[in-house]
Symmetry: C2
Subunit: 354 residues, 2 copies
DNA sequence: GTGAAAGCGCTAACAA
DNA sequence: TTGTTAGCGCTTTCAC
């Protein structure tokens, strides 16, 4: 059974004083006689009084609340982002309201709308597409401070993100140096994430520049729990590929497992590079080569940016794009077998081996 | 710059009608003439009006908001719990306010207090210690519906949890059957998690029953980034142990890695069993044997329970304790080398813990 | 069918 | 120093 929490009115009544006096005492503002002070404090204690933020918020039109929308918490990258943002917000006396969009633009804009209705003071979001986000338009219309995370900066929204294209290009360079010519880009929910697309584009561009074959786009339509089977099929159908760049580490690890299931050796038969730098990449054998990013820094930075705007201070500087990632070597990346190196320009026609 | 969002008053003014009428139209309640209906709708559209939940909440003394407190999102188990709870809450038109306690009782009760002040309608929490939680007392005092997750049930708080003791006993049985006699229990933050303690106790008890040596408690005091070093030291100092039960999968994976670093073969030289059943356990070679739990079901169940109480319906039944986990075989668990099986009864003397 | 007014919990301006 | 009052955005009687 819900108990009606005592209000400041109850306190005032019990202390036999006016509401305003109670408010002053409880807030430690204004001047009050020692006697009434004590009476009020006693009354509050006896009643177990706690302020209701609702009344306060309505009156101050500020909720000390920040909305946060990320695609999913199942991805440790976003879990870290949220955790860091939450910690930072807390430190400033703000609460975080969370919503997951599940990589769905519709859910995403609905979430933003709801958060806005709740009068959040600020917003931290990762949208699926910055260029066409109904949610962001709403935000603009309302003039609520908002920072993007892992999205490209966009018309007045500061973004804490990694330079996806540059990072992808770095991966291409690694592959190239080792002698890979036929690579694939592995992605889940490709159409639903502009991050993925940027990585692919950056990768493809660099491959072209480096004189490698255009990377094959290995796209997976998520089928609950079918991941490994799908991956195996995909790998089996693309035997000419000697190196795979996965759009995230989890996928990369899954690909390693699938490859092993097909009897392929890593990295001799197939090199794999991930993206994100989650710690489990270091737990597997061989270690996963990957692009390391710093999700906590992103989350914290985004929170600071929003908080700064709220406080009227100047927001923290965002890191230089080239510093937003680093390439981490790992046993999953090595030179292709000699036989594969010069797979030939005809590689597109007959699958080299079956 | 923050824009003052249009209020229902603005709409009424623009539609040249009373506030009450605007409210009725916008809420689709009560009867209104077609003409005013259109005027109001038009005004609202032109103004880009959206209800403010603040006023509504104050008025209805309900926020359609649920507070959620978990130790950390870095642990995928809790990330899943939160994600599932959030999804379920959303489905019912509720929002989730998140707080992480960082395994700190102080932060935990502060978080609960703040959430309560925000007038959350319900609460979903994992506390560090159900028997001594200031936060839970507050909750009781306020009579707010609250479900526990991964905690033991407690004086009126329904808990969605796994039977830690039974699960741990099952692990002991597996070890025993394979011929292990000297095992260790590996835990991080042991003192800060009653879950860990229950697992250890259940494990120790079962070991005793099965005639095995008492498990060595291998406790790690988290040192940012030092995990592997500490693990290696711990393993090196406990060579007589043939099997390790880790209090969570992440730790188990780290232990596998550390063991490999010491040149130990898994499972011949050391068997390792985890707890949780996170998917990366299946990505490593050999696969991690573990206790599989269902965090999403826990989060969803907890949310349903709270939501049901809020709706005055009967809450969903919680699963039978024996169904809350299942043991998953994996290559990380095997029989010890013959030479190790009868490693000797002196194992208890050298100070295994300090 | 419609609008005025009270009230949800709180703070701030103004009187006393 | 203290109390009264208006008002934050909204819903809901209750007259009209």
């Amino acid at each position: 059974m819900k108990i009606r929490p005592p209000t400041i009115k109850d306190v005032a009544e019990r202390a036999a004083c006016g509401i305003a006096t109670a408010s002053r005492v409880l807030n430690g503002r204004g001047s009050t006689s020692e006697k009434t002070r004590e009476k009020v404090l006693a009354a509050a204690a006896e009643l177990g009084f706690e302020f209701s933020d609702l009344g306060r918020s309505l009156q101050s039109s500020t909720t000390r609340t920040i909305g946060c929308v990320v695609p999913s918490l199942a991805n440790p990258v976003f879990a870290d982002v949220v955790q860091a943002a939450q910690a930072e917000a807390n430190r400033a006396g703000y609460q975080l309201i969370l919503a997951c969009s599940d990589y769905d633009a519709e859910l995403e804009s609905r979430a933003i709308r709801t958060l806005l209705a709740k009068q959040v003071d600020g917003l931290i979001v990762t949208v699926s597409n910055v260029d066409d986000s109904e949610g962001l338009q709403q935000v603009t219309a309302r003039g609520v401070p908002c920072a993007l995370v892992y999205n490209r900066p966009c018309e007045g929204f500061p973004a804490w993100t990694v330079d996806n294209r540059a990072a992808a290009a770095a991966v291409a360079r690694e592959f190239s140096q080792l002698g890979h010519r036929h690579t694939g880009f592995l992605a889940l929910e490709f159409g639903r994430s502009d991050r993925s697309r940027e990585r692919f584009e950056g990768f493809a561009e660099a491959c072209a520049t480096l004189g490698m074959a255009p990377p094959v786009l290995l796209e997976i339509a998520e089928q609950e729990g079918q991941l490994l089977e799908l991956l195996r099929a995909l790998l089996a159908a693309n035997r000419d590929v000697t190196g795979i760049f996965a759009s995230n580490d989890y996928l990369a690890l899954a690909a390693m497992k699938a490859a092993r299931g097909l009897g392929m050796r890593i990295p001799q038969d197939l090199s794999i590079v991930g993206f994100d730098g989650i710690s489990t990449g270091l737990m597997v054998e061989p270690n996963l080569a990957t692009v390391v990013t710093d999700p906590r820094a992103m989350g914290e930075g985004a929170a600071r940016t929003v908080l700064a705007r709220l406080a009227g201070k100047t927001p923290p500087a965002r890191p230089d794009p080239s510093r937003t990632f680093s390439f981490r070597q790992g046993g999953s990346l090595g030179p292709p077998l000699p036989g594969n190196t010069d797979g030939g320009e005809a590689a597109t026609s007959p699958p080299s081996r079956q």
